[in-house]
Every structure is written in structure tokens, then in C-alpha cells.
């Protein structure tokens, strides 16, 4: 369990990083919590690792207009405890409580988790549900990718060779919005067997928006607008079940995962509504 030989580069600026990433078979190293196990098991063997941890432009969490920007080297722990996040996009913190354990959150980055496009990642689902913008820099300059276009398959994004994610922007949710994240995992902090993020808007006591993102049940998070069905549990479940395709593996059968989704969707929507109510009051 030792990685094969690779070159380690620690660029001092974004342009330097972009240049380094042009080399063949390069990989970004952020918190390393997903990448180093892959290297050690020799499931990945990049020739160059470009460590972005020295790039101060990628640090921090900021309110930029109507968006909350999270830099590429902000750790899960910082995001989990940052007041701006709690005020403007509480769903991120609701989701992060399920991500791994404190020692891993101390190093792992929230943006790295999105860049990794893990279908079981909570933040992948959050980004998809909120329609986050992923900021990218590459050999051809900068571009933004919408979360929907970013997640292509399991551990597969629309990033092209040599591109670096500099940060992710989430739309700020005013107090008419409520959210929640719920999941079932075998052990505390494990990737979920199934999980659901929910987002609702209540205006003058009326539900004006309701959508969910289901994770761990398909190659990418499954985002569903449920406003039309969310008061009728049967219909809601029928709609949801028709859009997911979970697998059977050594931990759970597909049917059990469907059962989890049924339970979790109802739970997530209920919690999101009471979250909205508590934010307005």
C-alpha cells in the first residue's frame, strides 16, 4: 500500500498551478482525504501531484453579491463552523455534519469533495440541489460550470484535463427558504446507504417551492422538483421511486435502499418545512 512514484509540485500562484497541471497525467491535491487512499492502493497513479494548499487566493469563505463563495482550500471544518454559511446557506452545514469524522474534516476540503464528484458525497447533492456554480480555471482561461452540467457520472465531472476548480458559489437562501439533510449510514460518518437533501420555500404560509436531491442511489445526485406532489405521500413516493435506480451490494439490497429513500424523502421535507418556519420566525 505505497503509491507508485510521482512528482510533487507546490505552485505559488494560480497560473503556475495551471501550467503544472498541463503536464500529462497530473492531478490536483487538495485535502488528500480521497486521493491519498486511491494512490496508496494504486487505483490511481498520477505522474504529477499539484498541491494547491499554498494558494492563498483559494482560501476563505465570502459573500459575493447574492452568492456565497467557498474557496477550494477551505476545510470542511471551517465551512461547518463558519457563521456566513450558517446564515446564508444552512444546508451546507446540515449536510456537513454527516461528512466523515473530525480528523478527516480538518483536512478534507468541501470544494474538493465536489470536484471529486462522489455520488455518495453529501456536498455533491447540496451543490446539485442548489444549482451551485463551479468556478474553473484552465489553459483556456476561466469558466463557470453549473452543478447540473458538472456531475457527469460516479467520480466523473465535466472538468477537462488541466483544469482547476478555484471555488464554488452557492445561491444565498433568504429566510423564506428552509432546508434539511438526512441520511442512513451503517456507521457514524460513513458514506450513506441513501440520503436526501430537501429545499422548500414558504411565502406567506404557502409552499412555493419544494425540491430534493437524493444521493448514494445513482451515479450522480438525483434532483427532483416535488412541489406538485409533496403533500401527497403516495404520489410523492411514486414519483421519486420512478427516478432512482439503486444497486444491491454487500451492504444493502436495492429494495432496502428504495425503502430508505421513501422514509428519508418524507423526513427531509418535513424537516425542511420546519426549518423554513423557524428561519422566518
Amino acid at each position: 500500500m505505497k503509491p507508485s512514484r510521482f512528482q510533487y509540485v507546490r505552485p505559488a500562484s494560480i497560473p503556475e498551478a495551471v501550467v503544472a497541471l498541463q503536464r500529462q497525467n497530473s492531478k490536483v491535491l487538495a485535502g488528500g482525504q480521497s486521493l491519498t487512499p486511491l494512490l496508496s492502493m494504486r487505483l490511481a497513479a498520477p505522474e504529477v501531484l499539484v498541491d494547491i494548499n499554498g494558494l492563498s487566493e483559494l482560501a476563505g469563505i465570502e459573500l459575493r453579491g447574492s452568492e456565497l463563495w467557498i474557496g477550494a482550500i477551505a476545510r470542511h471544518q471551517e465551512v461547518l463552523t463558519h457563521p456566513l454559511v450558517g446564515t446564508h446557506v444552512p444546508l451546507i452545514q446540515q449536510a456537513l455534519t454527516y461528512v466523515a469524522h473530525p480528523v478527516i474534516r480538518n483536512r478534507g476540503t468541501s470544494v474538493g469533495s465536489i470536484a471529486h464528484a462522489d455520488p455518495a458525497g453529501e456536498l455533491t447533492a447540496v451543490a446539485a440541489l442548489l444549482g451551485a456554480r463551479i468556478h474553473v480555471v484552465g489553459p483556456h482561461g476561466v469558466r463557470d460550470i453549473l452543478a447540473n452540467d458538472f456531475f457527469v457520472g460516479p467520480l466523473e465531472s465535466s472538468l477537462t484535463h488541466g483544469e482547476l476548480v478555484t471555488g464554488v458559489s452557492f445561491p444565498v437562501l433568504d429566510s423564506s427558504w428552509g432546508s434539511s439533510c438526512v441520511e442512513v449510514a451503517r456507521r457514524h460518518g460513513d458514506y450513506a446507504l441513501a440520503g436526501v437533501c430537501a429545499l422548500v420555500q414558504i411565502v406567506e404560509g404557502r409552499l412555493t417551492a419544494a425540491s430534493i436531491a437524493i444521493f448514494s442511489v445513482a451515479g450522480t445526485p438525483v434532483v427532483i422538483d416535488v412541489l406538485d406532489v409533496c403533500t401527497e405521500n403516495e404520489k410523492l413516493n411514486l414519483k421519486v421511486q420512478s427516478l432512482i435506480d439503486p444497486d444491491t451490494d454487500i451492504h444493502a439490497t436495492a429494495d432496502y435502499r428504495r425503502q430508505l429513500v421513501k422514509t428519508l424523502v418524507a423526513q427531509a421535507l418535513t424537516e425542511a418545512r420546519s426549518n423554513a418556519e423557524s428561519r422566518t420566525s
Binding site: M1, K2, P3, S4, R5, M41, R42, H101, V184, R186, R187, H188, G189, D190, L193, I250, H251, A252, T253, D255, Y256, Q259, L260, K262, T263
Partner: protein, 792 residues
Amino acid sequence: MTTKSFGEPILRKEDPRLVSGQGRYLDDLGHEALAAAFLRSPHASARILDIDVTDALDVPGLIGIYTYEDLEGRVAEPLPLLIPHPALLNGRTGYPLANEFVRHVGEAIVMVIAEDRYIAEDVVELIKVSYDVLQPVVGIQNAKAAHNAVHPSVPNNVSAHSVKEVGDARAMIKAAPHKLSLDLFIERSACSPLEGKGVYAIWEEDSQELRLWSSTQTSTGVRAAVAAKLDLPLQKVECIAPDVGGGFGVKIMHPWPEEVLIPWAARKLNRPVKWSEDRREHFISSAHERAQEHHIEVGFDEEGRILGLDVTFFHDNGAYTPYGIIIPLITSTQLLGPYKPASYRVEFTSLFTNTVLVIPYRGAGRPQGVFAMERTVDAIAKYLRLDRTVVRERNFIQPDEMPYDLGLIFQDGRPLEYDSGNFPASMAMLKEMVGWDNFETMRSEYAAQGRKIGIGVACYVEGTGVGPYEGGFVQVETSGRINVATGLTSQGQGHQTVFAQIVADELGVPIEDVFVTTGDTRRFPYAVGTFASRAAVMSGNAIALAARQVRDKALRLAGEALECDPHDLEIVDGIVRVKGDHTKSIALKTVAVLSNPLRYAFDESAKAATQFAVGDTSKPPVPEDQEPGLEGKDYYSPMASTFANGMHAVIIEILPDTAEVKILRYVVVHDCGRVINPMIVEGQIHGGVAQGVAGALFERMAYDESGQLQNASFMDFLMPYATEIPTVEAGHLETPSPLNPLGIKGAGEAGVIPGSAVFASAIEDAEGFEIRRMPISPSELWELRRTMKENA
């Protein structure tokens, strides 16, 4: 009097070192050593056609590549079969490196030695092996069906078969008023110590001596095995167990292939060589345990008294049997627990499969046996509509029946005779602690909130402290430092504390002055090892006996110095003094000076011991029947094992929609005789319960039909975190063992034993349908509910 330390919750002496990063585990040693890596079989059953190393030869830093063809002398012979048994008709062991055939994924085929582990692994990737892949045998059903053979020379894949009978169980069952039959399964799990195995060897060419370190549970065993394999005199081999990060059984096996190969390579290359096992290697090339399938026939009367118990079970022993058939032997004898069925028949068949070999994992065959027995008792209770604890109580061996001979032969080859225990008292204590009699009230309170809870109970008896022997050495230095050594090894149990407690009391010295060394053949060459909850019983008693010798000698020498009768002396806080007249005293360290007459005065205390300073010139400096030095050595070898026992109860809640099991309370009543250190015993129980919870609800070895282990990492092998483990409420009942001087019984394995049984009991209680297979995941429980509903 010195404060008595036996029985006190004294803080562990080893912890300041271990928790501040001062521990030295195998991989902390030998940074300059060459590193080994192994190419291991990707197939469960295959014939090796060719090994092509062409591409690998040019890698800079490569030192050597070795296959079976390169092995010499006894290293090329099959590994030893450590524990032969008459019922083991077809024992088989592997070779250090595969000889033509591989019989499980992970079996070592090629050893690569390089300047470092990175390079060694690069080389492994470049070696090409071609195979003729054969149909593997995976699982007990396939092994029984025997369409394929794990070893062509072994018919029906059967390694061992045994039948034992006490009375005529079959006739008694036939004649019994009530009968039940049950099929019960337990899946594979494994020890999973945090530190894997590891070996580091240094060959001294000048003196032709081998020094090796192994992360082992038996340094004497490894030493003897390696000396034999390398054809070296025992005197030329020393083996040291450094700090060991857990064992739980897997490290009692020896010699592992690597324990032979690394020293062999070190001698061949005349360079230090080291190998540290990584986690994937540990999953696929160390050892597993637990997989068994049991069929039970039981006959009983109206009261629930068992008249006949007939158990037929199949044990999956994996690809080889180097450790013999200890596990099914233990299941077959310890299954009965605290009960006395009027007759008992047990038949087992041990089967080869193309999977990792099996050796005892903490509990060692008992978790399966207890599961089988306790499920049976629960089934009887359900059938007769009796309280589960009542049926248990009616079948208990009573305290006045001790010692109780079960009419069987135990794993140590001696009669199975319980020496002590008070099962009714233990049960009463457990029921009181968990609130058994009020549980129905609790159940309806939860039900009123739409919540479903259940309670489970399980009992066990554990043979501990098996022989043949252990030894102890105690020495008082002239500085007052007390050195204690015993040969068995430590893997975190706290031996340095409990053995020091024993010596502090026996010798009347402060515990701070006592320093314990374990598992170093240079310090104590005669030993067996740490397993079977035996360290406190075996080495504890041996050390106590050795300390008593030192005490006798100290009192005699002090008596001479103080000119009084040794019987009038006592030792308190390291001072020998006259009882009732504390002005007449001599420090124990001064007695140590007097015990060793010297010619040379290298310091002040030595000056006091020189020939012109001490002695009665009418006698030789060392009297004829005495030895120099204030030290003693003794051994403890018991007539038979001593039997600890315990009872567990758990209250669980099962979530209605997701079938997740939440543990509300976990209660343990435990009897390990006299307790040396209650905190350490509780720690052992907590750790054991954690592994019991793991085995019941989380861990399993998920082999697919081709023999690939699908969850060979901690991501998918669900070892629980602290967050999954309940707070354990423990009560101690002390019935001292009459068999040994200290009255102690083992405690190391206890916590894990009833895990699957107690959870199955509770889940069954909550759900209302039978639980016959463990472990159980929420998904499986949910599917089972669905099947039950469909069948209803």
C-alpha cells in the same frame, strides 16, 4: 502496611509512554532495513504455470526476487502443523511461498526485497504470473457438496470429524415429551488488530546469531520455529515482541510464512530486512474465524429442562489447518455453558475452503457455540411460553455441584471440569441490573409512542488459563529497582500494571519500583504465549510464586543481618523490619547488596558488598545451598483450566421503517474470580463487548463465489467506531478459583463471547420472528421482515 494494590483500580503503568507517542511498534524499528513486499495470489484456486520477472529486474533499488524454487532446506518444506489432534485426519499446511498451487486469494507467491517498500511494491507490479485458474470452493455449502477439492488428496474437503457423547442423547430426545430442531449460522469475521503483523530480522554474520522482532503473541514460539526452519541452534536465535498493537488471536499463529522468510532473507543477504503487513494483506493473507453452521435437535420436559441435546455442526477452516482444529473443539465443549442437559451428543466436521485460513479469534469458537445454545434455550422458552431466564435457571449447574465434571475432554486434552461459579447468583444480579422483571412496562411505554424495543439475554462459561505453563522471574537490584520478567507477550492488556501489582503486594514494595518485561526471549526463554485468557492466570501466578521466593530469601538474609528470626520480619515499602520494632530494619536494596558478595567496588553500594566489608569468614561467601543475587524464578503449571463465566443482557430499539438497531442499554455480569485490577478487567470487557457488537451487527467477510473478498478494507469491512458502541454497565461477581494460588480466572475474551447470542435474542424479542443467522444488517433484517410478512 504498604497499601495493597491487588484489587485496586491502579492506572496503567504503560499508558504515559503509549499515549505520548513513545510506543515502539514493529514498523517503528529498523528504518535502515531492506523492505520486503509480496506478490500474492489474485485467484482462490489456481496452478501456477509461470513466473516471469524479466520486466522487474532493472528496477533501481531491487535487491532480490524469490519464489518457491529459491527456498532452501527446511524453509522449502511445508509449514508446521502446530496442534495435531486425533480427529484431524487430513491436516494440511501451506509453504512459505506457494509451491505450484495457490489455495486462496492472498497466498504469497513471490517475495521481493528492495531498498524500500515503495520500490519493492513497484517490482511486485512488474512480475507476471500466469495461472491455470481452477474452480474454487467457497462457503460451507460448497465445501460439503465437494464438486471441487481444495486439496486433491483430501476427500470431500473434510479435514476433521469428531463425535462426542455423554449419555444417549438421541434416545433421550426421542423419548422426550417435547422436541425442537433449529438450524443456526454464524458468518466469518476476523481479529482486525490495529497493527497488522510484522517481522524485522538482523543477522550477525560474525557471531552467526539471529535477532528478530515480530509483532507476535508468542516470541518463544516464533523463536523455536525459526531456529528449526533455519537450522540454527536455539541459543543463536532471540525473538522480541516490541509494543504490539493488538492481536486478538491472529498473532498466536506461528510461524507465519513471513516469520520464516524475513529471517531467512536477512541471513542470506547479510542485511537487516523488515516487512510490515498492510491492511489489505491482513484481510487476505492473515486469518479469519467464526464461520459455522449448526443443526440442533433438543428434547425437553414441561418445565423446560433439557433431556437431550444433539448438535451437528460444520466448521469452515479455510485453506489450511496450521493451528489444528482448536475452534470446533472449543465450540463442541464450551457450547453447554452454564447448563447441564441430561445427555449431550456433538458431532462436527471441519471443512477446507479456498479462503483465508482460520485460527482462534478472541472468543475462539465460543461465540458460535453460545449462539447455538442460547438460541436453543430461547426457542424452548418460546415453545413452552416461559420466561427466557426461567428456562435458563432451571437448566443451570448449581453452586453446590461445583466442581462439575461435564464428561468431556477440553481443548488442553484434560477433563472438562468447572472449578467454580454461581450461575443463579449471576443471573439474579443481571436481572436486577437490567430491570428484567419490569421490562414489559418499559415495552408498553415505548409502544405507546410507536416505538419497538426488545430485550435479550445470553450466558456463557469460558475455560481460561490453559496450560501447559508460564514462568516468572523477579529480581531486586541494589538500587531498589525490581525487575520482573515473564515470557508471554503483551498486546495492550496492561500486563506491566497487573503483574507489578502482584509483585508489589507479594514483596511489600511500592508499585513504582516494579518494572515488567514481557515477550523477550533474552529475558525469559521459557513460555507459551498470550491467548485463551491465560496471561493473568498463568504468568500472574508464576510471578507471584517467584516473588514469594524472593521474599523468603530477603527475609532470611535480613534475619542474618539483623540477627533475628526471619519469621519476626515483614517488608513494608521496600524496608525489611522487625514486626512491632521498626527501629530494627534494613532496606530491601541493601539486602540485595548483601545477597551478592563482590570483589570489586564500582560504587558505594558495591563497596558495601565487597569481601572485606561483609561476611562470616567461617562460611563460604555464598553458602552451599544458595545462589548470589536477590532473585527468584518459578513456574505455574495448572492441573486444569479454570472456568470464568458471565451473563449479558441488552435492550435495543429497532426503527420501524429502516430496521436500524439502536442499543439502549448493555449490561454485563462477569465472574473472573479475584480481580487484580477492576479497571483493567472492565477495559477488557468493554473491548470485548465492542467486538461482540461488531460481530453481531457490523462485521463479516463478504466473499463472492469466485473467492474474492469484496470488503478487504475498513471502508467496507464495517468495524464499528466508538460512536456505534454502547456504554457498558458491568457488575462483578467474584467466585475465586480454587485451582491457583491467587484465585483468579481469565477475563480477556469474555466480553465478546455472547455478542451474537444476546443480540439475536433481543431482535427476536422485538420483532417476534426467529433469528437464526448472525451477523444481521438493517437491510437483512428489513428483508427478513418482508419475507415473514409474505409468509404469514
